[in-house]
């Protein structure tokens, strides 16, 4: 009965050699299954730890949430058996993705935040991370005023062992300024990131795409063009960044729509299968804006969608494709708004289409 371990380790080591991707996820899920079949909780936990990471950083938030729930359950049953530090650290990745799913009610999100707060307090750190994630989640839920309040609470407290890295914290604050429409302030705040003085595994990847349209609005066209190249080469290989591919498409729609077409062709199938509806919505809106722009200006263009896309049949009918993408994006927006109790995303989408389309 020991031979399951050989197979388990084999799968795990194959997985380790791969970048975060669907292939890696498939290997890890299989490894978790084998561990479960053998009733080996320790191995199951190890595989899920990797699933959580791959899911959080490779674009499978749902799989990450499911695996994490299981891990946390095992931990609660036997806290001595598992490493608390990394488990609690990963809580942040999980909670960050939850608001993307409109079917999770606001009360449940809040009780999750409270659960994290309680656990972190027991772990011995301050409320800083709680306020920080409350800030982030409020922002994602279109509650910008609440986000401001949380941000102020967060700033009162000192960094501790559960704090995100300085680059990530800065990135989220830049993101906030962009959402508030404070272009100039956002770019000023992002300066250490743009210059490479503050960086980490996901910064400046996450930051730069959000700054393209603001730079364009400020008339800083050359900076925007240079940043676009640099930024895209940083993120293009990771399907996690669907929303950011959308930002690139939206920006190029303003300055050079033809260059956005290959991006649409490449990333649309990824967007369709992306587990995170919020990411999908943003990508669809920007793609719809691009198609609208191309039609409005009457440019000749060819769209070559791969057969893997369920929209492949609409490649020759861009007007229908645009309408379909908009419709699906607004359906997600409506569901999110209903949960959030506002009309933030619906308005967001309208504004985006008007500006970039």
């Amino acid at each position: 009965m020991e031979d399951y371990l050989t197979e388990f380790q084999d799968l795990m080591s194959q997985a380790y050699s791969l970048p975060h991707s669907a292939a890696k996820m498939a290997l890890l899920e299989r490894a978790a299954e084998i561990a479960d079949l053998a009733g080996d909780v320790e191995a199951g936990y190890e595989a899920r730890e990797e699933i959580v990471e791959t899911g959080s950083f490779g674009g499978f938030p749902m799989k990450a949430i499911v695996a994490y729930s299981w891990q946390l359950g095992q931990y609660d049953r036997d806290p001595q058996a598992f490493d608390e530090d990394s488990l609690y650290w990963n809580y942040k990745w999980i909670i960050d993705d939850i608001p993307s799913f409109p079917e999770v009610p606001a009360e449940q999100i809040d009780s999750l935040l409270q659960d994290m707060r309680r656990r972190y307090n027991e772990y011995g750190v301050s409320d800083r991370t709680y306020w920080y994630y409350n800030f982030r989640l409020s922002m994602y839920m279109g509650q910008l005023e609440k986000a401001q309040e949380c941000l102020e609470e967060f700033r009162k407290l000192k960094r501790d062992a559960m704090s995100d890295c300085a680059a990530c914290e800065l990135d989220e604050q830049v993101h906030y300024l962009v959402l508030l429409g404070k272009d100039e302030e956002a770019i000023k705040k992002a300066k250490p990131i743009i210059e490479g003085r503050k960086r980490c595994a996901e910064v400046p990847h996450m930051t730069l795409p959000q700054l393209l349209v603001p730079l364009h609005r400020l008339g800083r066209h050359e900076e925007a063009a240079e940043m676009q190249r640099k930024s895209y080469s940083l993120i293009r290989q990771n399907a996690k960044f669907i929303q950011l591919f959308g930002e690139h498409i939206g920006y190029l729609s303003l300055v050079d729509p033809q260059r956005a077409l290959p991006m649409l062709e490449r990333h649309l199938p990824q967007a369709e299968t992306h587990e995170d509806p919020l990411n999908r919505m943003m990508f669809y809106w920007n793609s719809a804006a691009l198609l609208h722009k191309l039609q409005r200006t009457g440019e000749d263009f060819v769209l070559n969608l791969p057969p893997a896309s369920r929209f492949a049949g609409l490649a020759d009918r861009p007007e229908e494709l645009r309408a379909k993408l908009e419709e699906e994006a607004f359906a997600i927006a409506e569901a999110l708004d209903a949960r959030n109790g506002n009309d933030y995303y619906k308005e967001f989408g309208k504004k985006l289409l008007a500006e970039r389309g």
């Binding site: 050699s17 791969l18 970048p19 991707s21 669907a22 292939a23 890696k24 498939a26 290997l27 899920e29 299989r30 299954e33 084998i34 479960d36 079949l37 749902m62 799989k63 949430i65 499911v66 695996a67 994490y68 729930s69 299981w70 946390l72 359950g73 095992q74 609660d76 939850i98 799913f101 079917e103 999770v104 009610p105 449940q108 009780s111 999750l112 409270q114 659960d115 240079e226 190249r229 640099k230 080469s233 290989q237 791969p306 057969p307 893997a308």
Partner: protein, 608 residues
Amino acid sequence: MPDSQEYRFQVNLSGMIDILSNHLYSSPRVFLRELLQNATDAITARLDLDPSHRGEVTVELAGSGSGATLLMQDNGIGLTEEDVHEFLAMIGHSSKRNGTELLGETSFIGRFGIGLLSCFMVSDEIVMLTQSAKGGPSIEWRGKPDGTYSIRKLEASLTPGTKVYLRCKEETDFYFEPESVELDLLHYGALLPYPILLTENGRERRINPEPPDWIVYPELIRDRQDEVLRFGERMLGERFRDFIPLQTSTGRTGGIAYILPHAVNLNAKRSHKVYLKRMLISEQADNILPEWAFFVKCLIWTDELQPTASREHFYENEQLERVRGELGESIRAELIRMSETDENRLRRIIELHALSMKNLAAEDDEFYRMIHRWLPFESTYGHKTLGELLDEHRTLYYTATLDHYRQLRHVASAQSMLVVNGGYIYEAELLASLPRILPGADVHRLMPEDVSLAFADLNAEERSSTLEAARAADLVLQPFRCRVLLKRFKPEELPALFTLPEEAATLRSIERASEESPQAFASILGSLGGSIQNHASSYSILYLNLNNPVVERLFAGKPTRRLNTLVEMLYANALMMGHYPMSRQEMALLNRGILSLIDWSMDSEREE
């Protein structure tokens, strides 16, 4: 009395030095690179005046420990008095703006100044003697890190060129040791086209070998196979067996892409050695080749790219994008050439580096068209190349995930279906786009629910005779959201087959996790699962095989009292055969079932 003047930098020099050493350079050892760079620039400038000039750099070490000194001498263009004032002025000017302007400086004089300043990382005084090849007096400059310096015109006239003296400061004597100086000079200057001589204890030796002529005449590379491979081993520290020459259309960037002799981890950092104007810029340049080129390790020389301020990387700009594209094109063209002229060589490379080849093919149709026959795949017909699979002239089914492949493999094999595992990275993508590069290719994506395509439906008579039992069976598994369907399929030894559409698989995993989760998470999983549950495709399917004698008996005539338990057991059996982990509920069902079977078997014994 010779003409001597005391000056003071109008700058906070220690601030500049701090910027250089703490924020710009990765290590103090780069002072040697900076000095070598200055010497190289000066020799290049002199060659512009006099193409027949023969450049040379000499490094002299004296003393040891904390008394060590270093002299670097070049026979380049040298500096005039105005030049010296100019670089000092540039330092002064840019120091008022955090020094950042100076760091981006690309002119000879501007660069010269930064190069010199970097020596303060290892020396508390810099003495420079210089004589311009354009004439004028020889100049001596002495600078200190506190910002004071003096300039003196010398009476005697030196030969043209520049000498820089350094005296090691505390705790930097390591950088003045002969072994370390020799290594660094070779490290940075291995490709320089003129000799670098090192003198210590009165012994002089040449550090850098004569650079190979094929660096200048790339057309020679193909005829120097062995030499090029040996060169690669010396420069990159690995024994290679194959390489691809690189060249851009301008001819200003060239190199050798050595094929890595082992498979590579896709996560590994690419580390190519890149020389700018023959000076080493980086050993970790990862942005000079396209991402897919992870099966090669390169030596690259260029004079058309702009280095970053630290001179350790290149700016990501249009120029770099072009060079990257063209170097990639060199590799691509060579692979295509191999496919036409040297299949075995290509096959060897592909076997080692299938993943990156697939990545490249997925991004580039033309490349895919050329190479598709050699790409390896796993299939129900074994591990074969795509060419061999196509030669079967059958419909090529592929699965999008490893899981689907594992579920379908056995049924498909029994029915001689040709199913390719598309679950590995890039594979499904490649198979999906096969018809695009190979018109008429008969390729279909196979979903777990599609196995029913290959199943025979029951005829009308069979349907009506099994109808009642089939309905009853379907009801049994409702609580598990599993449908029961009766079919005929091969192999007949297989009584039941469980298939799980994607949504059902997600739901299944959510439910299993939910059983184990703390309250706050369980409710969230409930919400996530709830929205999926409403879809029809969230049902799994249990196919029962009427070709199997036991199943046939079970469904003949009226449903028996024991039907429920028996269907449940077939369900549990199919889960186990398909390697699906079971939920607690399902485990309980299995336990109950086994006990019932034991019970019944004892009953029947008693009856006998």
